[in-house]
């Protein structure tokens, strides 16, 4: 297993470890720092808070926001909410899977894209919608979605 730089989480633990009820907040910071929740960091959180590793794992797996594996450079959050569903989000999912060869929860081999289905991004009137690294793309068609992915790939190659 890769070792994480544990010193990065210490300031968060200094602030929250003694505060009851803050495990979710700590995990949110952890994910912001490392991009996911590494196992060794979980053990460190356990040492500092006194919460057992099993309990931490329980919370981390309960909430869909938390990831236990690193993700690709671009995280595609594809909305599968009701409005997007009615307006054809399944076809967008098929087009993305077809283009990248990954389905929900997977990451491309080159580590560039991860795909995650989410429920409602709150932009239903622009459905179908996806959000990639904080930027929202609305009124998608299968073609438009593929085009966006290709331009992101190009952008990353030029960097």
């Amino acid at each position: 297993m890769m070792e994480s730089n544990l010193s990065k989480i210490e300031p968060v633990l200094d602030r929250y470890a003694a505060e009851p009820g803050s495990l979710i907040t700590i995990l949110q910071h952890t994910q912001e720092i490392y991009g996911y929740i590494p196992k060794d960091v979980m053990y460190r959180i356990s040492e500092r808070t006194g919460i057992t590793p099993a309990e931490i794992m329980g919370v981390a797996t309960f909430y869909s926001q938390f990831r236990l594996k690193p993700i690709g450079r671009y995280l595609i959050m594809l909305c599968q909410g009701t409005a997007c569903h009615v307006n054809g989000s399944e076809k967008i999912a098929a087009a993305i899977t077809n283009e990248l060869g990954i389905s929900d929860g997977e990451t491309t081999d080159d580590g560039l894209f991860s795909l995650k289905s989410v429920a409602c991004l709150g932009c239903c009137s622009l459905s179908p919608v996806m959000m990639i690294n904080g930027e929202t793309y609305g009124r998608l068609t299968p073609d438009k979605a593929v085009e966006i992915l290709r331009s992101l790939r190009k952008e990353s190659e030029n960097k």
Binding site: Q28, Y63, A95, C124
Partner: protein, 581 residues
């Protein structure tokens, strides 16, 4: 002049931020102030730019692109015709004119990041009135008179919950705002927080005063980063201005407020699960009673209300409970906000007095169905709600009348469906959602929803059996009875209501292996009629999997093995040559 760009999440997604930066450069050196506002609810026209002069709206421009910035600058410089082609049509204007706005009264009007714009529109006046001239009991009495009921779904009288929390013994009490907005297809609460965060803060403070809480917490969905950041700003502005903290407005009443970001779990919208989550645990509901009013956050008396519920409070205090109760029906008072989406022409936020009909909302305000197709049903209440068919379009917006249809008022999601939506697949969609979101505590909910999903899966794949509908119904009632919390108790609703109104569609899938809406891929086969095909090649270019072959001007063919049944060819063919069976 003042140029105002609508920057809610949806506006930004439609390109409002790019329009704003383009305007920044275009208006450089021009005598106009550039600012932004939240979401006015006309999501179908986004991005929207308002031009105001001396406080009056003189032009509303819609579907503005960054390229239009020059035109706006020209208008400010005196060319009265420069923005003509961008102006909103009278027909679209009616979308707002037909509404009655209370909870949304500032949305899209003021700058949500400027407390002075809120206070200039009577902001924090209600709080001042409450703290200087009313006892907590009097506040509760006004809310009782207003008839305000919870907007989060269940519609429980707000005054009753406030009173119960007030009466609960103990010094330490909490006021919590439920901004988890879990219904996938609803965005009323997001719009309120992004567009008018101080109104939420003010409503919460009045609630905190009424129940005697010194701490208030807003639990916001993780997927709403912009709402969180605007609310954070608003809280610190309110602290600075003395509306939050110790001895607010010199009254001796202390209250602090903080935000807790959720982590993505639908069940955490349920109030006791939300409390567990606030305490850093897995969001699993508690047994009720005791209700939160007696034992909530950290087992202290707590009161939980929805965002929209709080958004009505300051208006009620300023205008009186009677004014609010004057709107609506016998059972349902005031207004309700709906997030109108799906196959409707004008999708966005609609706030109307209770008592209006579904037809008023969908056809009169929403403009009817996209491409003038046939209306089939409207889904209300999300995963806990149901579908209401065309024959019941004249049902009034009223808690009881909607419940009688098998749907619910819900939190305000209103997803419109046309003839192309398969109702069985819709039921499967919601079951898939609830089965994934079931927290796993109750056997009936955890396993029952899973078994129901498997059956619906079979049915949409053409593998349904005789007796499936009856078995589904039986399971529905078992899950309803056997679940501890609202999630399981209501999860069968989408199935029950579609069986009730669209049983023929279930039967077509099961008996005839046919999907009347032409939506269930496994039951469809696409072919090209060689007599009608002109060989234009459009379909083969559009096919995402290269399943269509043929040469120019010669009839094309579809390889049914490779076909993924996406329907692209059907949609693009100009000659009606693609056939679906």
């Amino acid at each position: 002049m003042k140029i105002v760009v609508g920057e809610g999440s949806c506006g930004i997604a439609a390109g409002a931020a790019k329009v704003y930066s383009a305007l920044e450069s275009a208006l450089n050196g021009v005598n106009a102030e550039l600012t932004f506002t939240g979401c006015n609810g006309m999501c179908f026209l986004e991005p929207i730019v308002d031009i105001c002069d001396k406080g009056n709206l003189i032009k509303r421009l819609v579907r503005v692109t960054p390229g239009d910035a020059g035109k706006i600058a020209a208008f400010v410089n005196g060319d009265g015709d420069a923005v003509k082609d961008l102006e909103i049509s009278d027909d679209d204007k009616a979308f707002l004119d037909k509404q009655t706005r209370i909870a949304l009264r500032h949305c899209g009007v003021i700058n949500p990041e400027k407390i002075e714009e809120y206070t200039a529109t009577d902001g924090y006046k209600a709080l001042r009135k409450v703290l200087t001239s009313m006892t907590p009991e009097e506040v509760i009495e006004v809310i009782k008179t207003s008839g305000l009921a919870g907007r989060g779904g269940a519609g429980f009288p707000t005054w009753f919950k406030w009173n119960a929390a007030r009466q609960s013994p103990g010094e330490e009490k909490y006021l919590i705002c439920n901004a988890d907005e879990g219904d996938p297809g609803a965005f009323m609460d997001r719009a309120v927080i992004e567009s008018d965060p101080h109104n939420l803060i003010e409503g919460m403070l009045i609630g905190a005063y009424a129940i005697g809480a010194k701490e208030a917490i807003v639990y916001v969905r993780a997927e709403y980063p912009l709402a969180i950041s605007r609310l954070e700003k608003a809280i610190s502005q309110a602290e600075e201005a003395g509306y939050l903290g110790d001895s607010i407005l010199g009254s001796g009443f202390n209250c602090k407020m903080r935000i807790k970001a959720g982590a993505g779990a639908f069940v955490c919208g349920e109030e006791t699960a939300l409390i567990e989550s606030l305490q850093g645990e897995r969001g699993m509901p508690r047994l009720k009673p005791p209700f939160p009013a007696a034992s909530g956050y950290w087992y202290k008396p707590s009161n939980i209300n929805n965002v929209e519920t709080f958004a009505n409070v300051s208006w009620i205090i300023l205008n009186g409970g009677e004014a609010f109760a004057a709107m609506g029906t016998e059972n349902s008072k005031g207004t309700k906000v709906f997030a109108l989406t799906g196959k409707v022409k004008k999708g966005g936020l609609v706030e109307i007095p209770m008592g209006k009909t579904l037809r008023d909302v969908i056809f009169d305000i929403g403009g009817g169905i996209k491409e003038d197709k046939e209306f089939k049903a409207v889904q209300m209440g999300g995963p806990s709600g149901g579908c209401i068919p065309a024959s019941l379009l004249d049902t009034r917006i009223d808690y009881k009348e909607l419940a009688a249809t098998g749907a619910i008022m819900g939190s305000g999601g209103m997803v419109v469906m046309d003839s192309s939506t398969c109702m069985v697949s819709m039921a499967r969609f919601f079951l898939d959602f609830t089965a994934k979101e079931s927290c796993g505590k109750c056997v009936h909910c955890r396993i029952g929803t899973k078994r129901m999903l498997e059956m619906l899966d079979r049915i949409v794949k053409g593998k349904g059996k005789d007796g499936d509908i009856e078995l589904l119904e039986e399971l529905c009632f078992a899950v309803k009875d056997g679940a501890l919390c609202g999630l399981g108790q209501t999860a069968p609703n989408p199935v029950l209501s579609t069986i009730r109104y669209f049983r023929d569609e279930y039967e077509a899938h099961i008996n005839e292996k046919r999907c009347p809406a032409h939506s269930c891929g496994d039951l469809l086969s696409y072919s090209i009629d060689p007599a009608a095909c002109r060989g234009c090649t459009l379909c083969s270019k559009k096919c995402p999997v290269g399943a269509i072959s043929g040469t120019v001007k010669n009839p094309h063919t579809i390889d049914s093995e490779a076909c993924v049944k996406c329907g692209s060819c059907f949609n693009v063919c100009k000659f009606g040559a693609v056939k679906v069976n």
